[in-house]
């Protein structure tokens, strides 16, 4: 291994920066959530979950980790994302 950073990692970093700007923009557009469905909030959580997944996969190098570790991380991201979206979107009774 020559120690060069793969282009994929740099592309993921660029994608994470763009995704952060998008979620920031979504978060500052409160009017988008005026429909009571918390659509923008759910989208914000979804994008953040994707960011966390890519940090794990490409920065933490879980991409080449044993399947058990990859699965544990993916399950964590999935469970937290679903729970957060449910708590944000489902209206209180």
């Amino acid at each position: 291994m020559n120690g060069a950073v793969p282009r994929r990692v740099t592309a993921v970093f660029a994608g994470l920066v763009v995704a952060t700007c998008i979620t920031w923009w979504l978060g500052s557009r409160s009017s988008l959530t005026g429909n009571g469905l918390g659509l923008a909030a759910a989208l914000t959580v979804l994008i953040a979950s994707a960011k966390i997944y890519f940090i794990g996969r490409d920065f933490m190098e879980l991409r080449s980790a044993p399947s058990v570790l990859r699965a544990a991380f993916t399950v964590w991201v999935g469970v937290v994302a679903v729970a957060a979206i449910a708590l944000v979107v489902v209206p209180t009774s």
Binding site: G3, G27, G38, G56, V88
Partner: protein
């Protein structure tokens, strides 16, 4: 001439193989052990800690969202009192630091010690910027009458969660920075990748965890609560 029957089960130890005589045919080669299907960055035990720590933060964040449902208006007003641009800039700063750490890992692997040291120093600088901005944010919140004990009427619960989550996270940033400095000292002594792989990868993984936890905190406390 007939050969004695040998019942071979490669998964069992040889003494359990069923043989009828001493002149039995030589046993076939044992099935190779199942190859390990990947590389664990750092020590395996560290990942139990990382996943456990992530789960602790997840539990606090879920409790935060649960509390938010009981009074979304107060949570929204409280979240608007946070300085959102600082949270966003801090997210970008930690993402940059994580990228620098990835680059440092590759530089260390390639034996480029001075470059790796500069990259780790860059990540430490990012951590200092993060802590500085966080200190300013705390000063601003406390000046406005918000405290970790949440005495301020109404917004108390929100700010208790805010201080607990960001305080715990800041503690992780401080520990992570100390670990980055340990790695930098190893690079200064030109410790080879072979001899320091587990430590370097473990420190990098911890730092990325600090980054991803902030992504979750920024999203739920600063953005979603304000919507």
């Amino acid at each position: 001439m007939t050969h004695p029957q040998v019942r071979v089960d490669p998964d069992l130890p040889e003494f359990l193989w069923d043989s009828d005589g001493a002149d039995a045919a030589p046993p076939p080669a044992r099935r190779p052990a199942k190859a390990r299907d990947g590389h664990i960055p750092g020590e395996a035990g560290l990942w139990i800690f990382i996943l456990g720590d992530m789960t602790l933060f997840a539990a606090i964040l879920i409790a935060f969202l649960w509390e938010r449902r009981s009074d979304p208006v107060v949570f929204e007003q409280s979240a608007h009192q946070l300085i959102q641009p600082i949270g966003a800039v801090n997210t970008l700063v930690l993402l940059l630091s994580s990228y620098l750490v990835v680059c440092a890992i590759f530089a260390h692997r390639g034996g480029r010690y001075p470059q790796a040291r500069r990259l780790v120093a860059g990540a430490v600088s990012c951590a200092a910027v993060f802590a500085g901005l966080k200190a300013f944010e705390y000063y601003s919140a406390i000046s406005s009458g918000h405290t970790p004990s949440g005495h301020m009427q109404g917004s108390g619960t929100f700010f208790t969660f805010y201080f607990v989550l960001t305080g715990l996270h800041l503690l992780h940033v401080i520990v992570g920075t100390a670990l980055l400095l340990v790695w930098q000292a190893m690079l200064k002594r030109r410790r080879s990748w072979t001899g320091s792989q587990k430590v370097a990868e473990g420190i990098a993984s911890y730092w990325h965890m600090v980054d991803l936890l902030w992504v979750a905190i920024f999203t739920l406390v600063y953005l979603v609560s304000a919507e």
